[in-house]
Symmetry: none
Subunit: 136 residues, 4 copies
């Protein structure tokens, strides 16, 4: 199983934190490995306490289904094919922006989840984190 | 981290009870501190037993995301950016009216949650409770 | 169903707080009604946050089985007839001192749960709370 | 309410990691703030995935009751005053070694939880992490 390391997770989180600082919105950032298990999490000072769980759930979801949580969300609205998926898996399926798979050589090896601002803000931080891993 | 005391919670709850009596709808009223932990709860005689949990969840939610639960609800409808958030955090995210953050000097130091009537009634009691803290 | 009121709960809690102040140990005190549903809870300043849940569980347990939680605990040790009961009911059965039934005319109408110190301290506060109800 | 920062959490975790490296046992290390909410977590490469949750629960427990989880464990054995406490609070009370409160000026401002080895190993890493905070 190709996966990522704690050193990778720190690179990913550091890039996310820089982006969060840049946009002025403190964030929770979580990274899971290929098994969907948490590798590292940080809550920046002042970030929402309700987003601890959500950042981890977004990362887990992005790896669990190898999909951006925003895209899963598009398919999980009322009337769509996955509507209701958010209550499965003990409720830890996050269906809104901020979770992204992390790939190496075309294989998903983990995921990042970001929570602490608007969906757009969370997504921008997750994208910065993902980009740092891609270029590492 | 600035927080509130049990004496504060009692002032907040007393104001909420007065408003509930005024509108003739018995309520559950809960107050959490800056860490999101319960400080005090009352269920007025005749108030719904299913609202014990909801009042506490509303208070927790308002502190966990530093937002009125009504406003979070507006952003959590199908198609909105936070749709699905209500199943995160073990299901304790309340996305309807009645939860309000409590601030001191511009900092959120806790929150109040009210449940027992219509959304409008819950909100009116929460607003009275919040106002009492602001002027204390 | 004979039960108790919010006014009763306040009398009970006030007595518990006086005892807690007297022994110098801040406490969580919870009161449930005849249905086992929470009527009121307070966490004194400085009391353990992990005891919010426990005080409520103790009160619920004392009414759920019409027994002092300390006595239930004696019957729930390894090898005893109720060993394992603490994982039933979603884990909210408390099997250590601090929860007491509240009776009126020989009928259990609710219960009080106290958590925040040693078993002996919790029990002493619960007894003071119970006595206040008996003499009210 | 005095609390700790993400920078504090990183100092604490770094010291824990050094100790874990020294004893050759990869660990999960988690830090919570004064409200019991997670500030940061790391899982060292090769550390048990079942210990992600336990490290966080140990940190939460040490703050929730302002006690070393090892000491709480001593009081939670069959026949002891807190036997059964491990199923309260939704099962997140950890009653074995590896969780320690973190104090500043005599006040508990957070806690560290370590899981990944024997109780003795977890405790030694938690002690190193705690010492780093005390001397920071």
């Amino acid at each position: 199983m190709s996966t990522l390391t704690l050193a990778d997770a720190r690179t990913i989180i550091a890039a996310g934190e820089r982006k969060a600082d840049e946009i002025g919105q403190p964030m929770n950032i979580a990274v899971v490995d290929a098994g969907g298990n948490l590798v590292a999490h940080v809550r920046q000072d002042g970030a929402w306490i309700g987003s601890v769980d959500i950042s981890i759930s977004k990362a887990w979801t992005a790896r669990a289904f190898d999909i951006a949580t925003k895209d899963l969300g598009d398919n999980s609205q009322p009337g769509q094919q996955f509507f209701g998926i958010h209550t499965t898996n003990g409720g830890k399926v996050a269906i809104f922006a901020g979770g992204l798979p992390l790939t190496r050589g075309g294989t998903v090896v983990g995921a990042v989840g970001v929570s602490g601002g608007s969906g757009e803000q969370d997504q921008s931080v997750a994208l910065a984190a993902q980009a740092a891993f891609a270029s590492a």
